[in-house]
Symmetry: D2
Subunit: 331 residues, 4 copies
């Protein structure tokens, strides 16, 4: 039974804490957050201890593993603290917004022989895994093109945007990870373009884009397209297409129910999409935690590594560079 502390009691920390508490493989020991009331509320609901200091939580003898759901700039120090103490780590993305610091962290984790898993939750969605299995089984032959659609229901607040690192590092980073995972090869070239179509004044103020397209190529010539937008009126749009020499796999969105409405003006109408990632990927978050706990228990390799996090960040940096310079950027 893995004894777990969750660091951070915000939106994402709550998800991880609930999953740890419900897991048959784990016991939730503590939740730590400098905002004491957040930790207290969550700990009260889940029946564990509340703490203020994440570092103290890492240091507890009755803690085998930590989940890091704190602000991005604390990811690296907490990860290294935990790795240094021999604790297993499930760390939210991104490792860091700065590639040099991410590289240094990856190197240090390796030196410490740390057991760190990066939380790219989409890899654990049941439909995503079914796609991966179908690819591995050779169902679609050699991969030629991957097309990823990734649109949020609405933009985050300005305060968030100011520290997000920009749309490529904050939002598209998930898609960069999916691209690498579905392509089965590393992209070697990135072309990107960015626009301000949802909220031009806000995007100008925070020096960011809200609508982007990315196109990438691997050494063998496999291609990937990603489109992202910070707002879609019909909900959180997450679609994946993998096209190969022997067929194609499509992965559609989820909706709250399966009913279809037929009316005078339209037929076969389905419900709007699940509103956002916490609902859409609820099962993925659960399975991600299980995969983490299982790997730690078994002493098996981590299913997603800090190197994966570093690589996705590198692609995000290349995309930003390409969008700003209008050049294809070699990775």
């Amino acid at each position: 039974m893995l004894r777990v502390a969750v660091l951070g009691a915000g939106r994402i920390g709550k998800i991880h804490a609930a999953n740890a508490a419900a897991s048959p493989r784990a016991r939730l020991v503590a939740v730590a957050d400098p905002f004491g009331s957040a930790a207290a509320d969550l700990a009260g609901r889940l029946g564990c201890e509340a703490m203020l200091d994440p570092v103290a939580a890492i240091g507890r003898d009755d803690v085998d593993a930590v989940v890091i759901g704190t602000p991005t700039d604390t990811h690296v120090p907490l990860m290294l603290e935990a790795a240094g103490r021999g604790k297993a780590v499930l760390c939210e993305k991104p490792i860091d917004l700065d590639i040099a610091r991410a590289d240094a962290a990856v190197a240090e984790v390796e030196r410490l022989k740390g057991r760190v898993m990066l939380a790219f939750n989409r890899r654990f969605d049941p439909s995503t895994r079914a796609m991966r299995r179908a690819i591995d089984a050779g169902e679609i032959g050699e991969i030629r093109q991957v097309v990823i659609t990734s649109r949020d229901p609405g933009p985050p607040p300005r305060g968030y945007l100011e520290h997000s690192g920009g749309i490529f590092r904050d939002m598209t980073i998930h898609d960069f990870d999916m691209a690498r995972w579905l392509l089965g090869e590393e992209p070697v070239e990135v072309m990107a373009t960015g626009s301000r179509l949802v909220d031009e004044p806000l995007m100008r103020a925070v020096d960011d884009f809200d609508t982007v397209m990315v196109q990438m190529r691997t050494a063998s010539g496999r291609q990937c397209h990603i489109n992202c937008c910070r707002a879609a009126v019909y909900g959180y749009d997450q679609r994946f297409e993998v096209f190969g020499s022997a067929g194609m796999l499509l992965n559609d969105n989820l909706r709250p129910t399966t009913i279809r409405r037929w009316r005078q003006d339209a037929t076969d109408m389905r419900e709007p999409l699940l509103d956002f990632f916490l609902e859409r990927y609820a099962e993925a978050y659960r399975d991600e935690f299980e995969a983490f706990a299982e790997a730690v228990e078994a002493g098996a390799p981590m299913p997603v590594t800090p190197q994966d996090g570093r690589q996705a960040l590198r692609l995000a940096d290349c995309a930003l560079d390409s969008a700003l310079t209008g050049r294809a950027v070699a990775v």
Copy 2:
């Protein structure tokens, strides 16, 4: 080249005349209708002769085949007139509203060795034929249940209803034919129920139902359900399901385009259905005429026979009897 006269220049006669005129296997010689202006208009548009007297059209030496699209009570006399003169006949359903007269007509056609095809157009719809081929190829194994949905966009006018023979003989008769054709066996028992839910006063006045359900069984135990309604706000609803020991076939509706709309309140919305049978079965009418012309040319058996028309009428009579008496009726 089959030389054809079309009898009747109404809604259905126009369809047959246009198909005959466009067919590579046929030449449209004449259109005959006692309403001279209807015949003249149609003949003018299609470049053939207009006549007032259908019997005279049958008698022409330059006519090899006739399509009967006149009022129901003229079907039998015109069919026998044409069969007696050795002309091939494509006759609209039903043969007659009275089973005894239909039986007599079937017997007389046989005596005359007449070449008569009954116009159950749905058998020629490309999707229907694909279902039949899949069944014949054994794709779904032994048939167990057939489910037929058949709803009109709106009820016909009172004048039509008064002479229609009732919903079972006028509307459901197409479904009885499809049921026989898809089941691959003759129904031996019919249970039906009828309601007045669309327009109760009108239905009471014409002593008819507007909403019915029928359930039938063959000797080996195969089952069929049919539901009909005279009105559906979303258009002309024609669905077929054949369930067997090794799988299932579904045949969905047609729409004018393939676009899907995603909006704030609904996603994946499709267009309303094609409004009614002339649009929905346009291709079926074309292919039906080709099948007729091909069979006549080849001297091959007619793809649909007067006996098929008689049998569908018999099932309609049984259904009406069952709906009125509340008993299962043996066919």
Copy 3:
């Protein structure tokens, strides 16, 4: 916090016990089953007490409510024992296979002012509830026809069939409940037909059907069709269609993932259906327990009553009668 004992540690008891244990509204106190090892296993896994005697479990002071998941012939005595002791009851369907005993039980529960909910789980499926809400909101106007498809992946073993009460009372009973609930009116007439198409020798041996169709009518003329089969190669098939004057609602099946495959021989292929009711209705079982616990806590009317169970059984009896006699049976 509702203190709950689950009676019966078989397939269905396990579901209820797990839901009670995970519910924020309840605490699972005990599991009781004369097969001691089954109770012990389940109790061990869920951290509650194991008992051999269901009656003793009912009698515990620390038990406020019981869930009855024992064999059918014990439903009535356990329900009455619990009602007599003032315990709330969630009882699996059917109340009993005999309508007279069911009637007597309903009357006795009323006399005792017992708090009994009948476990028609499908009413709590999220998509089913969404249909009900849409109907109540007037989205489809006046209901005209309900079409229910209900096919199991494969037949149960002979031992089960011998005591099941027959397909109408064992399997179709769920559909009779859904029919009543979706029609919004009581059926007054039942017509049914039964066949032996899946396993004729077995069905003959147990004097049962494996393939049935039912058609019902309410006093105002609303119609309902149900088709059932004990086997479908493509999985557990549960579809609902409600057709009204202003539109139609369809409720499709669930599958494990949302992926679609495109291959040379077929496109847009989806996965087989969830295999059976425990998977298909997992969420419905959870929400059913929550609805029970919520109603007990609030002292509110039970969402499904013993009278609902009695009425579904009555429709099953009428259907059997109709299938055997070939008559429409008045309810």
Copy 4:
């Protein structure tokens, strides 16, 4: 009644000739092709005159309009010949493979005040037009992203590829036209990448790509992605997505029938796509000819102009340049 000569009796000429012959607005006078037997066959079947010399066909007094379906390098001279003689022209794409010659032709047509329509048939597909109407009606608000999928069932023969001008000018050119038409603004920047994944030796031999991605941006920031491949095992894949501030429009593929198969290993299977453009766009070719005839008759502006053809070619050139240099290319 427009009197029409069709120049070229190959694959595409046959389509145009059949549509002209069947059009209520036109009469097919002649088919001209230096391969006399092709012209004779086609003319025989459609009941018009066969000619060897396209220029002579243009010169006939009884010809008002010509359809140019000859090899690409004859498009410009025939178009100018016809324009010079005051004949209306429907010219197959592309105008020419060389942008300078295309520009000169456009200028000359303008000087001659020629009535020339370029045959971008996809604009006339019923579903495409329905998308355009929905956009114009404001259904999806301001356009943000357009995603176009365009895959052929299999590559053309080497002989064709050697003179095709390359995948961007031969195949993607249709998508460039659709992009302009759906975006509602001119692209100002093009980024493209090309691979050889279908047949590497062949593509190397003809110095071409078989798998490409293109990404474009308009001045206001609207974005468009195009993916093309010369081979898709599941058929001719033509999908369009237009995403806007108020919703999204999707346009799916066509299949020969609407049946869906349910089997043990997969459910809801649909048929493979219509195999190639002649089948997929049959209705679009018909409506294109009608639109041409209607515009000529009415003296209205041509629905697609030589300038449209020139602009699509320019985008193709930019894409090739980008794919070869790895730079974003300004249009």
